[in-house]
Each structure stands twice: as structure tokens, then as C-alpha cells.
């Protein structure tokens, strides 16, 4: 009886764990039962490469990485980045070198999170976090200025009031940059050639995949640099 088969299918779903949705309270915690609220509140793990909102990184010594070169603004297909550089005060430099990003704004109402800016940035100054859960109540909030984008003194992104942010979600802010770093050249797979970030140090490059693809033979160089992925 074809009519009845479907009933079993729907019935069977009851106990299954393959739920589409998860319990989510938008980060609200119930005051009285804090612990319970937290366990109820599951967020699905986000992959490392996720394109979320941007951050402006600092070097490990606290200097800003952005040099105001406007490459990100130039490559942005949505034209949502506005950068103006300025000369550093030699006595109190904001960034190493001559110039620094004086104005840096991203309009998130336009940003399409293609991460071309991250690929374009020559100093790895702008990278993307895994955070995308933010909702604004006005247009002004959607325009992030350098103030909001720049990482804090601990190297972690600023947690703005309208962002739902959980511990640990600030990690891997540079995953996409690291993934695209070799630009296809197998010789550069796994090669770390970027400066350390404040709070995280020098992050490992993404492990090359040729070794992971066991069916194929990667060349010797690949095997030698195969390092465990850096979960700092």
C-alpha cells in the first residue's frame, strides 16, 4: 500500500537526531537558570573559512596592520569599503611604515562577504571573523568604522551590542586569507609568510591537501611541510 508507506517515514523522524534547526535563544540567557539556558542554546559549529564580518588586525606589538593602501576598497565589487590613508606621526606611529589607515569604514548593508578584500590586502590587515549574526536597528549601526573593526588590545574583535558572539568564535579570523595564500601554487602550500597577529601570534598556514588525498602522490616538498593545523 503506497498510501501508508509515507506514514512510516514521517513517524520515524520523531526520534532522529538529524534535526534541521537547533535550540537557539539569540544569546539571551534566562537569569534564574543560566546553565540550563546555555545548554538549550546550541549554535552549529561554523567552519573555519566562514566569511563573517571583518576585523582589522594588529601586529603582535600592537601596531595596526592597515597601511591605508585602499586595495581592498578598489577590489570590492560592492564598493562598500571606504579607506583613506594618512601619514604616520613618526613619534607615535599607528602602523609600521609610512602610512596608516586613517579612515576605514565598511557598510554592511552592502557587503556581500566575498572576501576579495581579504585576498587583496597585502599586509593581512583585514580578515574576516566567523561572525555573521548581527542585526541592526538603524543604518548608522551598519556602517562599521575603524573603531569597531579594529581588534582590541587583546587582539580580539570588539563585541558590539547587536552582535551575537560566543566564546571561541573570534578564532580563525584569518582562515580565508590562509586558504587563498598559495594562490594555486603548490610550492607555496603550507608556507607561512605572514606576520603574527596580536593575541594569536603567527598562525599556521592551512595544511596542504595533496597529502590528505591519499590516493594521489604529492611531491616530497608537500610531505615535508605537512604540519598539523594550528588551532591556537
Amino acid at each position: 500500500m503506497g498510501y501508508l508507506g509515507g506514514f512510516l517515514v514521517t513517524m520515524r523522524q520523531h526520534g532522529r537526531k538529524n534535526r534541521v534547526t537547533t535550540q537557539y535563544s539569540g544569546g539571551r540567557l534566562f537569569k534564574r537558570k543560566k546553565r540550563k539556558a546555555q545548554t538549550m542554546d546550541e549554535k552549529i559549529d561554523k567552519p573555519e573559512r566562514l566569511h563573517g564580518r571583518h576585523v582589522l588586525n594588529r601586529y603582535e606589538d600592537g601596531m595596526e596592520k592597515c597601511i591605508g593602501c585602499e586595495l581592498c576598497a578598489a577590489v570590492c565589487p560592492a564598493k562598500c569599503i571606504h579607506v583613506r590613508g594618512a601619514d604616520n606621526d613618526p613619534d607615535n606611529p599607528t602602523s609600521p611604515g609610512e602610512r596608516f589607515g586613517w579612515i576605514y569604514e565598511i557598510n554592511y548593508l552592502r557587503c556581500i562577504h566575498c572576501d576579495l578584500c581579504v585576498e587583496a590586502c597585502p599586509t593581512e590587515a583585514i580578515t574576516e571573523t566567523k561572525l555573521f549574526e548581527f542585526s541592526f536597528t538603524n543604518r548608522k549601526d551598519a556602517i562599521y568604522t575603524k573603531n569597531e573593526l579594529l581588534v582590541g588590545d587583546d587582539g580580539k574583535p570588539k563585541h558590539l551590542p547587536w552582535e551575537d558572539w560566543r566564546p571561541g568564535e573570534d578564532q580563525h579570523t584569518s582562515a580565508w586569507m590562509r586558504a587563498t595564500a598559495p594562490a594555486g601554487d603548490a610550492n607555496f602550500v603550507g608556507v607561512v609568510s605572514w606576520a603574527g597577529e596580536l593575541g594569536y601570534g603567527v598562525r599556521d598556514a592551512e595544511a596542504e591537501q595533496s597529502t590528505a588525498d591519499t590516493q594521489t602522490t604529492g611531491d616530497a616538498r608537500d610531505a615535508s611541510v605537512a604540519a598539523p593545523r594550528g588551532h591556537q
Binding site: P47, P122, A181, G184, Q209, A212, G218
Partner: protein
Amino acid sequence: MTTIVSAGAATSEGGQELRPRGEISQKALMREAGAVLRLSESAAAALSDVVSDVDEDQSMIINMGPQHPSTHGVLRLMLELQGETVLRCKPVIGYLHTGMEKTGESLTYLQGGTNVTRMDYLSPLNNELVFSMATEKLLGIDGEIPERAQWMRMLLSELNRMSSHLLFLATNGMDLGAVSMMLYGWREREEVLRFFQKVTGLRMNHNFIRPGGLAADLPAGWRDDVLHLLEMLPDRLAEYEILMTGQPIWRERLQGVGVITQSEAIALAATGPILRSTGLAWDLRRDLPYLKYREVEFDVVVGAHGDAYDRYAIRLQEIRESMRIVRQILDKMPSGDYRIQNKKVTPPPRGRIDESMEALIHHFKIFTEGFKVPEGEVYVAIESPRGEIGCYIASDGSSVPYRMHVRAPSFVNVQCLPHMMRGGLVADAVAVISSIDPVLGEVDR
């Protein structure tokens, strides 16, 4: 300039709309009723299903859409109904027109992917693929794309086909009132999208396939994720078979609905599952192969009746075929570059920027003005889940396309609607729209 009053009194589409019977000549009515094939008037009159002897006050013109739950976006169908029988139908489109072809003329080839990927938002990777392939052909590097890049593209393309078809199953189920199917379809699609998210960082609109290769390599552990998909899906598909295919109500609702014959489908340039449902085995992957489709084995699924049920069954089976292809890809995936090492197209590795000033300048040039593409024009087509998606690029030698046109399968397939719907019921209309599986982002571009 029309006054506000008149604009408010009627909808603004004017001549694009279906005109009432009283306003058109009998001849035009014949022609319109013969809708799709646009037969000669006598031939249309000879067709028994062309209803022309209906009084106007016995029929009613009803708008299905642009805001309607089952028009898959902002498709607007104007239906002339007699009771619940559809006498005439005319799709009115353009409500999602965002001028993407025009936008494409101001974005460099590097940025272009972000634009085209938004057209058919259910199979973005196929859009990117066809755009990249057209660009590569213009650049003359289409023969030099690294093996791994090609296999990766195939992998993503096939997975995308799966996700798109899964979504079709979901929406098809929902349109016919099988609400659970909707969520099951979305659920499985979500698994595929999670894989995409791992690879590209985004669930949709990836901008991952770029001219010259791909943006990044597959992440570690990708093989396990794909295997997980391949393990999970067959059981789920079997469930769909029980829930839908095995359900007599389901079959009754779809079989014999929205029939289109092979010659009609060809005349209307319908491609993809619609063409295949009429029994013609036409699949660009097999018939005009691109990438490495020559090296994998798969079957082209065809139907026999050209009805909505065949289109449903074809898509369901195509998921299985895609899985078969993916399995072969897993075996054959080579190592190597994922992007062409042509200095002109690919930015230098990050490691090299610090080493060489030339690389830095090169990096700057590519990201600011993009790479220049030689003058010429080219049309490249691949098989998207919805049919033949083609990309026509005319270049004037600069780094932005002079003209970028996408031959959107949905845009062409939507033309089949009036023909498939004629004589059906309103409920059939829903099934027919669903079986076309149009993506309005692509229809309107």
C-alpha cells in the same frame, strides 16, 4: 508621464499583461492560445484544446504572483480561468530584474564571479563555472587549467547539482502540499551547503570558481565530508521514494500534468530536465563534454511522457547520478595546483609578495585593475541543474567585459509555462511551475 491615479488604477505592466478576451482579436487569441508553439492560426484552431468560444464573462483573469506562495519568487502568471480550468496563461517577468548584465560590464573579470553567482542562486557554482570558462576561453588558457582545478570544479558542480535538485524536491513537495518533504529536502540540501561552507566559506554566492581555477584548495578532511554526504543521501533518497514516488496521491497529482512533447521542447529551446523528460537524452556533460566529464561514467536520465512526474523523477535520479560522478571524482582527484600558474591571471602567492617587489606590484595590479582579456567574443555553455547555462562574453581588450550575457536556462524554460498549463487546473498550474523549477534571479537577472 502617466499620472499617479492611472498608475494606481491598473498595474503598470501594460502591454506585457494578458489582455482580456474582449480586447484582442480572435486571430490574436488563437495565436496567444496556441501560446507556446505559436502555430499558425489555422493550426491552432485545429488543436482541440484551444478554447476560443468562451464568453468573456465566463472567464476570469487572475494574477498568480508576483506575490504568491508557489511562484518561486516573483514570477507573475496571469491566468485566464474558466472555473478552475486554465484557458490561457502568460508569464510576466522582470520583478527581480537587477541589471546584472549591465553590472557585469563594470566589474572586472576577477570580480565578475560575485555578480554571476547571484543569478541562479540555487546553483551558484555552475554560474561561476560557466563565467570562468568563458573568460578562460577568451584568455586562451582554457587548455591549461590544472587537472586538480578541473576535478575540483566538477566536484563542486555536481554537489551543487545535488543541492539544487534537493531543493527542487523540497519545493515540489511543498507546492503539492507535502510539507514534510519540503523540510526533508532543505535538510539534505543543508548538509551539502555545509560542505560548501567549509570549502568556500559561504553557503551560497560563493565566488569560489574564478577564471583560472578556484579561489582556494579543498580544506583538510573534505574527503570525509563528501563521503559522509554520499553515505547519508541514498537512505534519504529512499525515504523520498517512499514518501513521494510511492504515494499514489503524489503520482496522481503529477502524472499527465504539464505535458510537453519533444518537438515542442526543442522549439522552445527548453533544456535540462524538461527536455530530457520528453525522452531526448541531451546532456551537455555527455554530448558536448567540458571539464573532465569524458573521464567519468554516468547515465543521462530521460523520461518518456514529458509530464511533471517525469521531471520530478528525472531530478531525483539525477541526484543519484551526481553521487555516482562524485564517487568517481573522489577516486580520481589528482594533486597539484588548484589555480593556473599564469602570472597574468592569478595573483602571486602571499609568500612571494614579501619576497619580490615585482610580485607586490603584480598583486596590486591584479586587484586594482584586474587582468586584461584579449579582444574577442565567445559563448560557452555547460549543463546547470536547470538546463543549458551559457555565457556570452564580448571583450574589447580591457579588464572588464565589454558585454557579458548569460543564457539563463530558467529564462528560456519559463516560456514553456503557458503551453504546459493550458487546459489544466489551478492546482496543476502550481505543479507545473514547480516542475519547471525556475529561479527568478536567473530569469530576470
